[in-house]
Each structure stands twice: as C-alpha cells, then as structure tokens.
Symmetry: C2
Amino acid sequence: MLGSTGSVGQQTLDVVRQFPHHFRVIGLAARQNATLLEEQAREFRAELICCERDDSYLNGRIRERSLRAQLATIEEIASHPDVDIVVVATGGKAGLAPTLAAIRAGKVVALANKEVLVMAGQIVTREAKINGAEIRPVDSEHSAIWQCLWGEDSKRVERLILTASGGAFRDKSLEDLVRATAEDALRHPTWNMGHRITVDSATLFNKGMETIEARWLFDVPFDKIEVLMHRESIIHSLIEFVDGSLKAQLGVPDMRLPIQCALTYPERMPASIPTRLDLSRMGSLNFGKPDLQRFPCLSLVMEAGRSGGTYPAVAAAADEVAVEHFLARRIGFMEIPRAVETSLAAHKPIKDPTLEEVLDADSWARSWAEDWIKAKAL
Amino acid sequence: MLGSTGSVGQQTLDVVRQFPHHFRVIGLAARQNATLLEEQAREFRAELICCERDDSYLNGRIRERSLRAQLATIEEIASHPDVDIVVVATGGKAGLAPTLAAIRAGKVVALANKEVLVMAGQIVTREAKINGAEIRPVDSEHSAIWQCLWGEDSKRVERLILTASGGAFRDKSLEDLVRATAEDALRHPTWNMGHRITVDSATLFNKGMETIEARWLFDVPFDKIEVLMHRESIIHSLIEFVDGSLKAQLGVPDMRLPIQCALTYPERMPASIPTRLDLSRMGSLNFGKPDLQRFPCLSLVMEAGRSGGTYPAVAAAADEVAVEHFLARRIGFMEIPRAVETSLAAHKPIKDPTLEEVLDADSWARSWAEDWIKAKAL
C-alpha cells in the first residue's frame, strides 16, 4: 500500500478492514504523515513501513519497541516477495519508480496514481507486458471501462466514453471563471478528493489525463476516446462496441467500490455500502458535450496525449505548477490552461523517450512554467 | 428461422442479409404468410420450408419447380442436423413444441417467443440443461442482462433491473385509461412491434412476462427482479452486483441489435446501424417507479410468476383472450387486468406441471376468460 495516508490510501484500508480474512497488509508507505502511518501499521500489523520524507520518528518507535515493523524503502515494499497486489496511491511522479519496481517484480498493480500512465504510459505498459505484470485501474472511470470489458474482446471496441461531472465550475460563465478563486474550486459537487485533483476536475485537466490513462490501460487509439459530460457521476463510463451495443458501469460515487473491485478481481464481494443506487429516486441522468471554450485544458491534454512522447509529461508538470500557484492565489483560474499551453508550445519533444528523458521533460516544464508565471506576476 | 414472416423474423433476416458469409438459412417456417415465405425462401435459398396453416400454396410452387425447397414440419426444421441456431420468433404457445424439439436436439435457441418461458420455463430450462442446449435471449431487455453477465458470476447478482418504456399510456390518468381505445394503445412511443405486444406494453403485462422470462433465463429468484420505468428505452436493462456495482447495456431502440448479438455470440460484429447512440444529444435519461394502480397487470403477472406452477400460463392465456377482445372493442382497457385477475383467482394450480398440464391450464384459462368477458358484455 503505497500512499496509505492519503485519501485513496485510507479508503483502500477501509476496504481491507471489511475483509479481514482476505487481505494481509505487508507494507505501508506514506510521504510524511508518520503518526497516521504508525497507527495504520499497528492496526493492520504491517511488516514493512516507509515514510519517504523522514523515517526518524518511526525508527524511534521501532527502537523503543512500541511498534513491531521494519523500515524499508518504497521500492522494497513494492517488490517484496510476499506481496501479490501493490496499490499505488501516491500522488505525482513519486509513484513512477515504485510502480516500475512492482511491475518488474511481476505484481498486480492497482493504480490510483495518474502521473504514472500520463508521464510514462508507453514505458510502463511495455514493462508490464515483458514482466507479466497486471495493471488494474482504481479510478472510477477506468474501473468502469475495465468492468465493462470483462467477457468482451477489446478489439471490438468502437469508442471509450469517459464521463465527467464537470467539476465545481461546470455551470459558471467564462467571465465567472476568470474571477474564480481557490475556495470556489475546492467545492467539488460529487466527489470528495484531494486539492490538486479537485482543481484539475474544475479545469477538466483531470479528465484529459484520464483519456491518456485510458489509452494505455486499454490499448485503444486516441481517436476512439471521448469525454461525455454527466453531472450526476452515476454512470462512471461507457464502452460502445462495433455492433452498436453500449455497456456502462454505474454506482453511487464512492471510491471504495472501484478500489474493492481492483483488490478482489475476478471475484465480486458483498460490500457494506452505505447507500445503494436507486435510479427511480434519482429521477434523471443528464448528459452533454464538454465546453472546450470554458475548459480548454481538456483539449490541451488530449492533444498532448495524441502527440505522445514527452508532451503529456510536460502538460502534467506545467499544470501541477500552475495549480499550486492558483491555490496560493498568485494566478487566476483561466491562467492554468495558458501556463499549460505555453509550456507545450515551447517544448521540444522526444518521440519514444526513456524514463530519464521523461523526468527531464518534467523538470524542464516545471521550471519553464514557474518562470512564465513569475514573469506574468511581475 | 421459425416465424420468419413476423416482425422479429423479418428483422432477423435483415441481420442475416448483412453477413452473407456468416450465416446459411437452412429452414424457414411461418404461420400463414405463404407468399412472403416464398420470397424469403428464394432470397436465402432455404432448403426447408413450412407454412403451418396451409402448405398447399408452397407445395404447388415446388411442384411446378418455381421454388427449390422441400416442405418440412416446424419440428423437423427445429431439429435438423445441419442447423446450429434455431431462432424462435413464432408468437404464442405455438412456439412451445418446436422450441422443445430444438432443445432436445441440443441446438442453440435464440428465443424471441415470450410464452415459451412464461408458460413452461421450468420444463424448458430443465430440458436445456439435460440436453446441453443453450437459450439465448433476443428481447432487448434480456439481451441487455445477458450481455451484462458476460465475464461475470451470476451468483454475484444482487438484482436484475428490467427497464420499461411505459408503453403508449404511461402519462395517462386512471380515468383516461378506463376510456382508452385500441387505436390509442397501438401508438407505442419507442418500439415498433406487433399488435398484441403493443397492448401488453401499454398494460405493462408484457413487462411482467419479462420478469418471468428473466427468472428462468438467468436462474435468479423472483425477489431479485425489479422493474424500472425508463421512458427513453435507451438503457435496455441493468444488473446490480453484490459489491454495489451496476452494469447496464444501452443502445438505440432497434431489435436488430439484440438479434445480431444472439446470432453472432461470442463475437460482436460491426453492424451498419442507421443511428448510433449519442447521449450528449439525448440530454437526459429518465427513471421512475412503476405505477401499480394504473398498471395492475404488472403486479398480477409478477405475482403469478412468484407463485409459479400453472399460474403464469393462466395469466398469459387470460391476457391474450382479453387483449383480443380489447382490440375488437368489446371490453375496455382496464378490464384486461380484471380478466387476468379473476382467471388467476379461479384457477386451481398445479405446482410442478407437465407440458400437458400447462397446455390444459392454458385451455382452461382461455375458455374461462372468454366466458367471463361474454358474461360482462351481456
């Protein structure tokens, strides 16, 4: 369990808690929340723990024998022989190295980290094929598509249709968006998530990243991937097949459902779900086309995905920098897509990059976006 | 192809026409439309033909050598050694004997006839198991559930949710329904079908029959089957699994899609569909609970299905008689459920009936309903 103290990490442990006889937690890794990590290690009797930023607190607890666990690196946890499934719920590019470690050890990887496939989809899926590793999606949209593909031939897919709630600003005018603040953006209508992803939902950048993930997860060309606005977030995504038949996966918006699916596959286990979906009470489900005028990030990322190479890494890095500055009230909401756009325009791409070249492109884009934002702020 | 000149029969041949290299039509059977049957036999070079009501016309054409085919009984066609798939699109109880013949010959049966499973679901599914025959649904609702079960474990089904457009009278008040005429009933909002099934859609009797069919097709207990009103007929049905995940199958309302699915399974073949489903253009999909006050037929049939034995056969027979009288303007729309209800109340059921006992119950119910309607009309 990599990233155990974050939002997806905690919900994953919630699922594990429901099935004490089915899962054993071997290792837990977190970035910095050592006290919560300690608590989790105690509850789930984890053998290996790793706090990326600072292991000294945990080391002390282990020395004074108040915690039975061993310190390990995140890669050691990801490739440990006792481990069957590695849940990657770390944020950002920090997920790349441990995901590759897990894949090279032939593990099942339950992937909740977007950057892994956005930045290095080609490398990661190639390595997975070579090492017989399996990547299962955790994201609700990709889990929906995955579930709809069970028992189907992926060569018979006509279109993948990713649904998008539209985020906090779906009903705002372009003028409102120009003035929108971080507080406004953090009120997501249907999903309760971390800060960056909530802003990325509001810009639809997140949905664009999901199209790239879908491209790699399901080996479907970009021109077969579409985004459909669906404000209720009940239909998590759909597949259209060549015979005109569509399949959709639906459910209440609760991350624990796709997480459980990724952990228990090919089994479905009875879950104690607080609320079951009742369509007759919902009354209606609504759909529309994405508005690319108000949400240019969507087309920017999809275009970066279509161009491939180092472009998606640049888009993701520039966006991360821009969102940080937006959250710190240094730039406006509609400057996020501009930061992404100028970074992509200035980038000299590499077509089939190595991991190092991807990370270089990431660093380049970060400093380029920083500079661009600073120059704007002056 | 049994019932080749009817609505489903003609649409089945439409599908066959699309894939000339995949299908060979061995035999065609129709009830009475000998001239259309002759035309079909010519186009598809059928070897065996059968006109149930009167073979003399076809016999003449064969004798004068203007038609190359042989006359056969419908059971001979259904069990012919060259036949892989038997499409049963005959209406009413006429489908029972040939379906059983096909099943006993171990064929794949693509079943579009409702009465077969409603009247004799237990017998037919038992025989299919014994003889290694496979029953594939053709009805859009059951095809939806079937498709959603591919790659799934049917023991993990929490609920089957059959959708219902609501028929021609979905928005009418109870008072309007009392005065409704045959002309009103025959204007079905989304599907273009035969007369009886259109009236059965307006009363929701048809949806009740579908719950019984689903019970047998998918071996799911009755208390796990629900009906959901969905006026657009876009989501053809849904499954809820034990983990809270739902799958739905969607598409434009076109019978050729589920027919093709039943014929080409496990393959999906590219279809020349006139219109593809575009949810963003549809805007919204709507849902609601069925109104059992206005549409008592639904609960009557579901209750008959739950009670089992000869009850469903009685309900279907009484309904058929009542619908005939309604179409002939002899009784009102709201007297259809009353005819069904009184027949069920007067019936002495047999718990695990033989086919003969089922057919006896059918005859009894027909004459009982006839008498009841005549007594009312006096």
